[in-house]
Structure formats: structure tokens, C-alpha cells
Subunit: 264 residues, 2 copies
């Protein structure tokens, strides 16, 4: 598995990814999942990948081949992010179509997905999720983040904190906590982590970071966060229990559904 | 979906469950998922259910029928929790076997699972997870909680905080936060929430609570928790970014995989 995350706010974009790939639990390796196709001063194009590695690698190879061949249609020629999302989606369809029948007959999961984030001069910063079927959706101010891969463990922290008004520095910290929560709960997500912060309308990537296993900063924020959770927890209001000896009533109600009050 | 959670520590047991059942997203209803079969002073038996509702209801009906008929083998006669886990597992197998072929041919998910928690006089407090196949596993001091249903959203808070030394009052609060995180991230989990706290070696349920939608306490702890997360976050160490203008190098490495350093 993998976990990648994009956050777009009015101030810019954050993209983050782990680097773990696994085929079962006994073949685990490290592959970069976050790729930068920026043309400084003109367009910022970031891609993150999840799913079947042989599919995502081949799709990236084709995207790169179009760039190297200076094809008419490529990540560097298309006039806007919507067209780029369509273009990446078409490559996803093309590669999956080539392999689907062979993988399907051996019940191998060929699904993959991409996050596409960036900004082209003249447009707003934007973020797309491109599905295995080649269709895509766009992050909006109401839900300013998109995730691919192992998305669930890292979602609560984002649901509770993020909005379109969040600064990109704060968004980057939340992204890191979201990744760290996922790593802690699922061994199929792991370091090095890659994180990129992009300030809207700069058309340059000025901030990025790679955090390796046992990176002191990663350890520091994990310790800090766990201590903070415990401290926050200390002050949490006490549960207002119904006190009594419930066994008799409960026994009746458990045995005899007829005496239960109707579902509320 | 549903989310149920059990926590066993050296001080006792906490069981918690939501009450939402859905068939797709357009048929959502409320059913109790946490059931108390305690015999005061002798045994505490709690069951929580997830999965196909028609299966779990029928299994509970059979368990209750054995009790009402004062069968030789029932939740109230078996001498220990291990035997009760086996007994519940056998009923799971029996009911699923009755319906499997009919559901399978229409591709309906018939899976279900149970949490069984409690204590019988002469034994330690214990907690089991009984699978749809009737086999089961037991919580241990290393991993003192078990979950069924929509388990992922609520797992990070538990992974970061719980241990076998946690008091049951603290465990109950963490259980509530875990449920609340899940509700916030997944609409298929919802109130009323049921929470039971059992102090080891008392053989009585003295604390339980039902929290309905918009329960003031539920709102209070959610607000408190989100404010605390934000506050904890304020003090979080700054990310130590690599600063620069990365586009050139990144462009090269994104286009030309040959110039990439080998995976670390």
C-alpha cells in the first residue's frame, strides 16, 4: 500500500507521500511516489501515485517520453490543469487497457490512482484525483484535500482541522501528522516521506523535505504529538455515566427483545 | 457499516458501539449493537455486533432462545469465556451456513463479526473477536483492544494512547474519541452511541451511557477535542524545510529516471 495526500488552500498547495510498496507482507520495498514536473516561472506540476506499481511506473514513463520527445501534447504544453488531468487520465486508461486481461485472469489488482497538483500561469492552484478508470475529480474549498492509497487512518485529523483558509505551513504540518498516523497504524505505509509546499502564484517549488526512517524530526513530532494528545486528554470533560446496577434490566432486555423500547 | 470497540486493561473492560445500519447510502436505520447478558454477581457477558444485520439478529435470537429454554449449553451455563466464544462462533457458523448460498448467488455480503467481552467468576476479564467464519482471537496485554466494522478511522487514537495499564475511565474516554473520529469521517457510523464500563472483579455493570445525536456531552467533547488538537498543533515544532529553487533539479530527475539516485 501507499498513502499520498494533497491539500489545496487559498494560499497554495501541499503534496505528501510515503515511499513504501508491498506485494503481500513479505515483499516490501521503497519507491518514490511524489514527482515534480515543474517548469520554473511558468507551471508547477506535481504528481503522486498509488496502486499497482507496474502500472504507475509505466504511466510515468509514457509521460516522461512525451516530454523528452517534445510531443505536441505533454505535461509542459497543455494550456491548463484540466487538460493535464484529462491527458494523465488518458494515459492511465491506455496502460491499464494493455495489461488488464493478463492481470485480471490471475486476479491481480491492476488499479492505480494519481494526485495531480499545481498551477499554470493564468490559473488558480488546483488539485485533482485521477482514478484508475481515467476519470477525475477536483478538490474544492469545501473539501480542500484529496487522498489516494491507504486513506482512512489519516483522514480524521484532516476532517477535524483543515479548511480552505488554512495556511500552507499549517497544512504541511497536518499532512505530516496524517502520514505519521497512517504509518503508526499500518505497516504497509512507511518512510522516507516526501513533502512539498508550494505558495500560490510563485510558480516555483521553494520548500521540500525528505524524512527518512528514524529521522530526528519525525521522531520529535511524533513524541510531541503523542504527549500533546495525552495532555489534551487529561483535561477532557468526564463522561456523565448513568450509574446503577444495570444487570437485571439489561438481562431482561437482552433476553426478551419484546420488552425493549422501540429503536430511537 | 458500524463501528464497535472493546478495550480490556488490567482494571477492567470497556465496550462501545454506534447504532447505524445501512444498506447502501440510501437506506440507513438505527439498531442497537451492544447487548448485555450479565448475570449479576456471577458473570458479565457483553456482545457487540457488526456486519450483515439479518445474520447478527438471527444469531442473537438463537442465543436468547437457548437462554429462555434454559438449554444445557448457553451464555449462562458455560463455565468460561473461551467456551462462550466457541459457542457463539458455532452459532455464527450455523446461521451463515443456512443462508450463505442464497446470499452468495446475489453477491450479498453475509459476513458478520462479534466482540465478546466480560468476566466469569474465577477468571480474568477478557475480550474476544469472533469472525464470520466462527474462529476467534483474544485481546492481549500487548494489544489491549479489538475492533469490528469500520475500524480504520478510529484506530490511530488508540494506537497512540492505549496500554494495558490504562484506567478504565481513561479507556472509556479514548473509546468515545475513537467512535467520534469515526463518525466524523464516515456517515455510515452514527449515534446513538452505547458505552459500558466494567470494573474487573465486580461482576456487575455499574456504568453505562447512551449518547444520542446532538447530545450536549457529545458536542462538548467534540468541541473540546478539536480545540485541543488545534492548540497542540500550535506548539508543534516547525518543519525543517530544505529551501531553494528545486524546479531545475526536480525537472531533470522527473524526466530522466537514469539520473535519479538509486532508491535508498
Amino acid at each position: 500500500m501507499t498513502y499520498c495526500l494533497g491539500i489545496v488552500t487559498q494560499y497554495g498547495l501541499v503534496m505528501a507521500a510515503d515511499s513504501r510498496t508491498n506485494a503481500g507482507v513479505d515483499y516490501i520495498s521503497t519507491y518514490q511516489k511524489l514527482f515534480d514536473f515543474t517548469v520554473p516561472g511558468e507551471r508547477v506540476i506535481l504528481l503522486a501515485t498509488a496502486g499497482n506499481l507496474s502500472m504507475t511506473q509505466e504511466i510515468l514513463t509514457i509521460l516522461r517520453r512525451d516530454l523528452r520527445a517534445q510531443a505536441d501534447v505533454s505535461l509542459h504544453t497543455l494550456p491548463n490543469m484540466y487538460e493535464i488531468a484529462r491527458y494523465v487520465g488518458s494515459k492511465v486508461r491506455q496502460v491499464i487497457e494493455t495489461h488488464r486481461a493478463w492481470l485480471q485472469q490471475d486476479k491481480i489488482d491492476y488499479q492505480c490512482s494519481f494526485l495531480l497538483g499545481g498551477q499554470i500561469r493564468g490559473e488558480e492552484t488546483c488539485l485533482y484525483l485521477i482514478y484508475s478508470q481515467g476519470n477525475f475529480l477536483q478538490a474544492t474549498p469545501e473539501t480542500p484535500f484529496l487522498q489516494i492509497g491507504e486513506t482512512k487512518y489519516g483522514k480524521p485529523i484532516l476532517d477535524r482541522t483543515l479548511s480552505y483558509d488554512t495556511s500552507i505551513e499549517a497544512a504541511a504540518k497536518y499532512a505530516l501528522l496524517s502520514l505519521d498516523s497512517t504509518m503508526k497504524s499500518n505497516i504497509s505505509v512507511g518512510p522516507p516521506l516526501h513533502l512539498i509546499k508550494y505558495a500560490a502564484n510563485t510558480f516555483l517549488i521553494k520548500h521540500r523535505v525528505e524524512l527518512v526512517l528514524r529521522d530526528p524530526f519525525l521522531i520529535k513530532i511524533r513524541k510531541y504529538w503523542e504527549a500533546s494528545l495525552r495532555q489534551a486528554f487529561e483535561g477532557m470533560p468526564a463522561i456523565e455515566w448513568q450509574e446503577g446496577e444495570f444487570a437485571d434490566v439489561a438481562l431482561l432486555s437482552a433476553i426478551d427483545p419484546e420488552v425493549l423500547p422501540p429503536p430511537s
